[in-house]
Assembly symmetry: C2
Homo-oligomer: 332 residues x 2
């Protein structure tokens, strides 16, 4: 079962992939499917003894290029369709015990190239409207495979959250004639919430942070997607991201759990939500930590209201994270 | 600090309440602030030796009727305003170790009356646009006070999720002339996803369930809010809800964790999102469980895409939950 069903009460699609119920769940390190295939060891997903960055199709995908016919017939009220799309796994180290914060700036630079290559390849599929690279990091956010890795999903439409960004950007452009993210960069540069100032990218706690220690990384230039970045901009993104992640670990004193997502311009679709000129490349990084040993949970107000509550002021979180990121030694 | 900031990149408000950082965190049972005040014991929030249902203002509110001036000045890009609203606590038993599933149908019937009374009182505040009763249940969803209780938030605008429902309902009405929830009730009644069939309310796994074992409880009649329900409808809601919750515990074999929210017609606000005739009373109950010992986490696709992935078919979950709810003995 790999199908999408339309929720007419929220005007959204929900994806069902029942094969994922059987996905690999917290395997012991010796059975890790993302480790290299070593002589005499088990055959893993990666048929190499060593690698730097490896990308392959998710064995338990939510979206696939060959979805079966849906289980149930759709109705006029609840249309159902095969869940077309791509789900890729991006492994960025062959070291089972590393993290993206520990692999070093050079490796993150290579990862930026891998994101760019895969983004371009997935965007070239005419049935794809939106490409979302992300990383779920740590048990606190539910990770079931500990070997450090990210994922890339390619959706057949612009999903609800990016669609909301597109509508918000259109509203701002209608009102001011400008890109809302360009205005955010102009407002935040040099301000109290900045965490790392790069030449091409700016990292800061957004004034409206939904998570107490959320950091967004905005392209300073109005660029829609990673493939459009030149070498200097990619170098800078790698440096800024490496410092932000190392700073988190220094600040929290642990291997920080987080969700990281990259929002880009849509690559297909129709209607105002698909306007690629509205898209402005940025990363959002959301650790679930709200204090020592305390996690932020999305509860009643967030789930049923969509109304986020935060209990740390961005003007407090920003300087804390900036100090941690400034002092930390970032692995090369 | 109790303020709302506008996120211009998502066209949403986020609430900051830094006093909540100090809120009571998993106190021992002997120091429970929601237990009755017993002779010789500590003074709790409830100055009675016994009670059935108690409602009072949250001591650590996110929204308040007397918010201080904001910490920072807003800008044209990111307006900031005091976080006006109400946050109430609803304790529905004086038994520290009970649950809503265990207190019995009669107590839930009283709770329905309490919801109705408080809804009407909060809706009467001309600055309130939306009233959201909810319950966060269990450590798996981050509950910090174990004594069984729910909450009611009253917002100064229609928050993002109900606003999305209102727009979806308007879209459906424009297309068909009918209420989308009335159409859902007509489609689901007697079908494979029904869990409990009441006379006034229908409980079922929605065909688009975002959580594997989500159950929604829809009013059969096009009613907007709990205060509008007559005694027979309130009786039925109490019976259906009691059986649904008892069924969960029987099915999972544990005290089920869940988020429960009640969506109603808006009571204020402006624009199409505020049209009260679009609202159709329903409850959404979302347990985080996806299998034995396994939790569903909202990760990259949900957080950055707003695109939900589910790995249990509603046609599988529905019959399982219906069988559990049919067989269970529901406390009177």
């Amino acid at each position: 079962m790999s199908e999408r069903r339309y929720d007419p009460t929220h005007d959204e699609w929900v994806t069902f992939a029942t094969n994922r119920q059987d996905r690999t769940y917290k395997p012991p390190a010796a059975a890790c499917p993302l480790c290299p295939t070593r002589p005499g060891g088990p055959e893993t997903e990666i048929p190499r003894e060593h690698f730097e960055v490896a990308v392959f199709d998710n064995r338990f995908p939510s979206l696939t290029t060959t979805p079966p016919e849906p289980d149930i017939a759709g109705t006029d009220l609840v249309p159902v369709e095969p869940a077309y799309g791509h789900c890729e796994v991006v492994v960025f180290t062959d070291d089972h015990d590393a993290t993206l914060a520990s692999v070093g700036t050079q490796r993150i630079r290579l990862l930026v190239d891998a994101w760019a290559d895969r983004f371009a390849a997935l965007a070239a599929d005419p049935r794809i409207a939106y490409v979302l690279p992300f990383e779920n990091k740590g048990e606190a956010v539910g990770v079931t495979l500990h070997h450090p890795h990210g994922q890339i999903y390619a959706y057949p439409d612009v999903p609800p959250r990016p669609a909301r960004e597109q509508r918000a950007a259109a509203k701002h452009r209608d009102r001011t004639g400008r890109c809302v993210f360009c205005d955010v960069v102009a407002q935040e540069t040099g301000g109290p919430r900045v965490v790392v100032e790069g030449t091409h990218f700016l990292a800061g706690v957004p004034p409206w942070a939904r998570f107490p220690y959320e950091i967004d990384i905005w392209s300073r230039a109005h660029v829609g997607t990673i493939p459009e970045l030149d070498a200097a901009a990619r170098d800078d993104l790698a440096r800024v991201l490496a410092r932000v992640l190392a700073g988190y670990d220094a600040f929290f004193g642990i291997r920080t759990s987080y969700l990281l997502g990259i929002h880009s311009a849509p690559v297909g679709g129709s209607g105002p939500e698909a306007d690629p000129t509205l898209g402005h490349l940025h990363l959002e990084i959301c650790p679930p930590h709200r204090g020592e040993g305390k996690l932020k949970y999305l509860a009643g107000s967030e789930t049923f209201g969509g109304a986020f509550l935060t209990d740390v002021a961005p003007e407090v979180a920003g300087p804390r994270l900036r100090a941690a990121a400034a002092d930390v030694e970032v692995p090369a």
